[in-house]
Symmetry: C2
Subunit: 151 residues, 2 copies
């Protein structure tokens, strides 16, 4: 493994999130877990990922408390994985990535998967960043207050 810079003690919440799930495979594993994948083989087929990399990523996500692993009910050699409460709290992250991809990464008419409201079959509303009073805010309407230790 290549050593990587860690952000698990950074004072910035974005950096800490990125430390846990900020790589391609982890984000796509979480996506597939939201879509119902549980078994090692399901993740592997869905992602086209090498088994050793998938094993390492699943273990890291389990250690980070994002996935909960249990022995497969049929005694298969690989564990099964479901999102914990902490993992389910990543739903807005995955939806935000999806909506940006829909808007910015496809040509008109190009086939794409869609995330639909089960009840109506309609796409979801775009995420809106809002102030505490409900006012929509743009990036320029916000400011980052550094942590007290200056980080």
């Amino acid at each position: 493994m290549v050593a990587r810079t860690r952000f698990d003690d950074a004072p910035c919440p974005v950096a800490r999130s990125v430390d846990v799930i900020g790589d391609r495979w982890s984000l796509l594993i979480v996506r597939d877990a939201f879509d119902g994948s549980r078994r090692f083989g399901e993740f592997q087929r869905g992602l086209g990922i090498a088994k050793n990399i998938l094993t390492a990523r699943l273990r890291a996500l389990e250690e980070a408390g994002v996935l909960h692993g249990t022995p497969a009910p049929d005694g298969a050699p690989h564990r099964e994985y479901v999102l914990t409460d902490r993992g389910r709290a990543l739903f807005p992250v995955i939806v935000a990535l999806r909506q940006w991809g829909e808007e910015e990464c496809f040509s008109p008419g190009e086939p794409r998967s869609r995330l639909l409201d089960r009840r109506t079959g309609r796409p979801l509303r775009p995420l809106e960043v809002r102030a505490a009073d409900g006012r929509p805010v743009e990036p320029a309407d916000t400011v980052v207050e550094k942590a007290e230790d200056g980080g």
Copy 2:
């Protein structure tokens, strides 16, 4: 450089987003661009990143249309970088990562940076995933419709 699996022709919008910005450094560069970093040295100091890696990531984000690079006004050797419209559209992604980090990655009372509404000085409202009719939706209320080509 290690070759990596590409998702730039995947039918899933999450995968395409992840292909563009789904690595630690790219996400943190975009974060710092939202926070006002423009100059090479600002990104480098903020991230503690090696110059060659930063150069490569900035170039990739520029090629992806997320950042717009211009020659530094004072003739300095490095370009300056600002978010394009496409890059600014990543605001919900960064906010979602930040809010998950705030909720899930800090101990109570641990110092952290905060994203505040400039007008009121208050933290933003948590992002809410909603149906087209405004109803809040949980992951179980949604379903992914695969692309027509089966991807």
